[in-house]
């Protein structure tokens, strides 16, 4: 075979622009037959943009995608397994495998050959180890078995094994033992000659599975190394861009007052008993990978997500049953991560959004809104937080992302909250606005607010926080402050890679 040493897939000089952002900047990549290439990076590093371009969701602005070993007899196919597998949960494995087949009217309306389908489904699935029941709804199967159905479906049309398979964050919903089953399946495919691209932000899994590791940061390719040349520490360096030992450390310059938020044993869907104490004027960060409980914590504290707590005190008073309206009355404020869905009313003007949580101080004697007072409040806040354009009557959704977030901040900081809960406060925000938001958080803390920042950005936590709790599998795995609070430590603790404690063993110990 002459095509043997040519790569299956070659991407050269890929560029993708979004308004005000280069999501991919001159990225090149090769995948050979039998190789597992891991593409690693933080949120927003360009991983998912790359996948979406290959899938045809986005059009690339520049660059080439070639299949050099593709010939007329052996055409190279490309299949993508997305994070949510696109399976119909109520249907069984046989039916799910049949979804992409039967195109056209005649095939679609012909009776399905049930027996043959079942035999074929079982055969496809048994290629990945112990076969399971293909006649039950896939919703009742284990998540790893669902992943295998997803892969089997992609493989169903393969006429030869030398194709490209892209797995986009396939282990997100899997337990450690199930990850092993999936990895076995992937390794078998590679041994047969497939080229695998494995997209993940779980560094331990990447190190376990990959033959070659490609690291993206801010849309650029910063590393393309064989597995044996990379260890934990180097990989973290590549991902964060910070060399171990010369990083910034956490804040120690703030003075703290009394305890404002005091929670013992917070339980919820993903939280497994978390203690959280925040003093007035203190900024406490919450870190952890997706699924660790980091993203659920602020909503549970605020009361918009169900959670139970052994003890829950706000400003010295017990607060056992929480809901958003009562939380606001008690001086809490919550800037959620998804500002379009939860943080604001997109069809309202900036003014209407700013006054919504506390309208009682812009009303007049006849229970109406005092239009002049409201406008004055909104105009002042829009100027204070440097919203551009400074027009309180503009519809919220017509502002840029950074300015939208400034409006959400203005809305919550208007009443000087005693507890300020922030979830991904600078997600999708440009550098200038980011700086303004950091200053607003600093100012709120200086005024005596107890601040909780939940963020996936280690750099942000180091910049903002006095102390950071690192969550792993719903519990506090580490608490870092002062000299110890560095980007590298945060990432290592988040993945459970610190000081030789192996992540996979660690997470198995949790179960």
């Amino acid at each position: 075979m002459a095509a043997a040493n040519r790569p299956l897939l070659r991407i050269t000089g890929m560029i993708k622009e979004f308004p005000g952002l280069r999501a991919l900047d001159d990225v090149s990549l090769e995948v050979h037959s039998g190789e597992i290439v891991a593409v690693v990076g933080h949120n927003g590093s360009g991983k998912s943009t790359l996948v979406k371009i290959l899938a045809g969701v986005y059009a690339k602005d520049a660059g080439e995608v070639e299949y050099p070993s593709s010939t007329a007899e052996e055409e190279t196919g490309l299949h993508i397994i997305h994070q949510d597998l696109g399976l119909a949960m109520e249907l069984n494995a046989i039916e799910n495998l049949g979804i992409p087949k039967y195109q056209g009217l005649r095939e679609s309306l012909a009776p399905a050959p049930v027996k043959r389908e079942k035999a074929k489904a079982t055969e496809l699935i048994s290629r990945f180890g112990e076969p399971f029941d293909v006649t039950v709804p896939v919703g009742s199967l284990a998540p790893a078995q669902r992943s295998i159905i997803g892969i089997a479906r992609a493989l169903d049309g393969w006429k030869h094994p030398r194709n490209i398979l892209i797995l986009d964050e396939p282990t997100e919903a899997l337990h450690a033992s199930e990850v092993r089953i999936l990895f076995e399946a992937i390794k078998r495919l590679a041994a047969d000659g497939a080229g695998i691209i494995f997209i993940s932000h779980r560094l331990d899994e990447v190190l376990e599975l990959a033959d070659r590791i490609v690291v993206l940061r801010d849309g650029k390719k910063v590393a393309d190394e064989d597995r044996e040349h990379v260890d934990h520490e180097r990989l973290v360096e590549f991902v964060t861009g910070v060399k171990a030992g010369e990083a910034e450390t956490g804040r120690t310059d703030r003075t703290h007052g009394e305890v404002v938020l005091d929670i013992a044993g917070l339980w919820g869907e993903v939280l497994d008993g978390v203690d959280l104490t925040v003093h007035a004027g203190e900024v406490v960060g919450v870190a952890g990978v997706l699924g660790s409980g980091r993203e659920a914590l602020p909503a549970m504290v605020f009361g918009s997500e169900l959670a139970a707590a052994d003890e829950f005190n706000v400003a010295g008073a017990a607060y056992p049953k929480r809901d958003p309206a009562e939380s606001i009355r008690r001086g809490m404020a919550f800037v959620p991560g998804d500002r379009g869905k939860y943080g604001a009313i997109r069809d309202f003007t900036a003014r209407e959004n700013i006054t919504l949580p506390a309208m009682q101080n812009v009303t007049n004697a006849i229970f109406g809104v005092d239009a002049r007072k409201e406008k004055a409040v909104a105009t002042e806040l829009v100027a204070k937080y440097d919203v551009r354009p400074p027009r309180p009557e503009q519809i919220f959704k017509q502002f840029s992302g950074g300015n939208q977030q400034k409006i959400v901040f203005a809305k919550w900081l208007r009443n000087d909250p005693t507890v300020l809960l922030l979830e991904e406060p600078t997600q999708g925000v440009d550098i200038g606005a980011k700086q303004a938001l950091y200053e607003a958080i600093d100012a709120a803390a200086a005024q005596g607010a107890a601040v909780v920042v939940c963020s996936s950005e280690a750099k942000e936590l180091v910049r903002l926080c006095d102390r950071v709790l690192v969550l792993r599998n719903g519990v506090v795995a580490a608490e870092l402050s002062g000299e110890e609070l560095t980007e590298t430590r945060l990432v290592l603790e988040g993945y459970g890679l610190a000081d030789g404690d192996d992540a996979v063993d660690g997470s198995e110990g949790q179960q």
Binding site: E17, F18, P19, A59, D61, A62, F302, S304, P324, A325, S327, I328, R329, F334, P336, K341, Y342, G343, A344, I345, R346, D347, F348, E352, T355, L356, P357, A358, M359, Q360, T363, F367, G368, V369, R388, P389, P390, Q398, K411
Partner: protein
Amino acid sequence: MTDGTRAVKGPSVFSRYFSPRNISAVYLFILIFIVFAIWTPQTFLTPGTWANLLDTNSLVVLAAIAVLIPLTTGVFNLAIGAEIALAMMLCITLQIPHEQQSDLFLAVGMPWWMAAIIAVVVATLVGMLSGWVVTKLKIDSFIATLGMSSIIGAITYLISQNKPFAASPEFQQLAATAVPLGGFRLTVPVIVLIIVALAVWYVLERTPVGRRMYAAGFNPDGARLSGVNVARLQWGSLVAGGFIAGVIGVLSASKFGGSVAYGVGMLLPALAAVFLGSTQFKGGRFNVWGTVLALYVLAVGVQGLLLVKVPKEYSNFLYGVALIVAVAVSRWERTGKRTRAIRQATTFTKEGKEKLAAEAAAESDPPQLTPTQTALKQDGIEDQGDDAR
């Protein structure tokens, strides 16, 4: 604008307010008026036609407001027609002496005012029940109120045995009483309409409650996180709608007597008016004056068709078209704006490239050009060079 942001100069307040996009219904009204004034001037232009139009349709406008209130909080009330029919039949049958209609178990010969109060209370309770089904059982309002509608319809049938009844002369006086105002006679339904419309307008657009209702309708999750009790507002708005439906039922009973089919026919014009009204004045928000305007515009159209001898049954055709067109227009306006914004903000579409080329030609030293921008800028310079030669 004090800082460096670009000041976008919009059209003046005057031209924005009178643009067809803001008050298209007014232009539609003028068009309809001209067409029928030319077609059938001897009947269309008489004052009697207009006074009658105002009075007859006031009850439908009230029904539209009863639909509008829950819709601002994101809840459909498809049971409005059934609620009106129930209140209407209750009000009439309760007044009938038992000896007259012995097969009706509710014929107890009550005085009209007592029957009216009971009818309004029952309609309000029905709204409360709808609210409970929607907010506590958490059933989609479309399904819930459709179901309620058919349950209420069956009950209405039961209490009236599907017979039509005439209102007593004393009771007829309720809706026929009028206050003369200039050349017009303001009948009780018109006065009730004016009071209800003003009250609902004040609550929706001038109070915190109204602001929270709109917030709940636009984005229930976001509103909840801002401390808005979405479920309570939705429930309350269905109760208010039920109360208004009760009042409409009593007034229509006085005006037309009792007929099971009457109230149900109000749903379609009411919905059409509310959605057409949302495209007026407030750019996409359901609002009272838009609704009132839209309904009367549609009613004038229907009236004109009646005058040129088009059978009454075809009026639903007009309402159906108006409903679909109104929703299509507001959707198109929303998504159209977004699509345009995306096209203009990105650099690789045709519009974006043209915009960049224009900017590159205008600015002398723009910071950090992308390759596309650089290429376009060079083009611009070359063009200028050609001009110089």
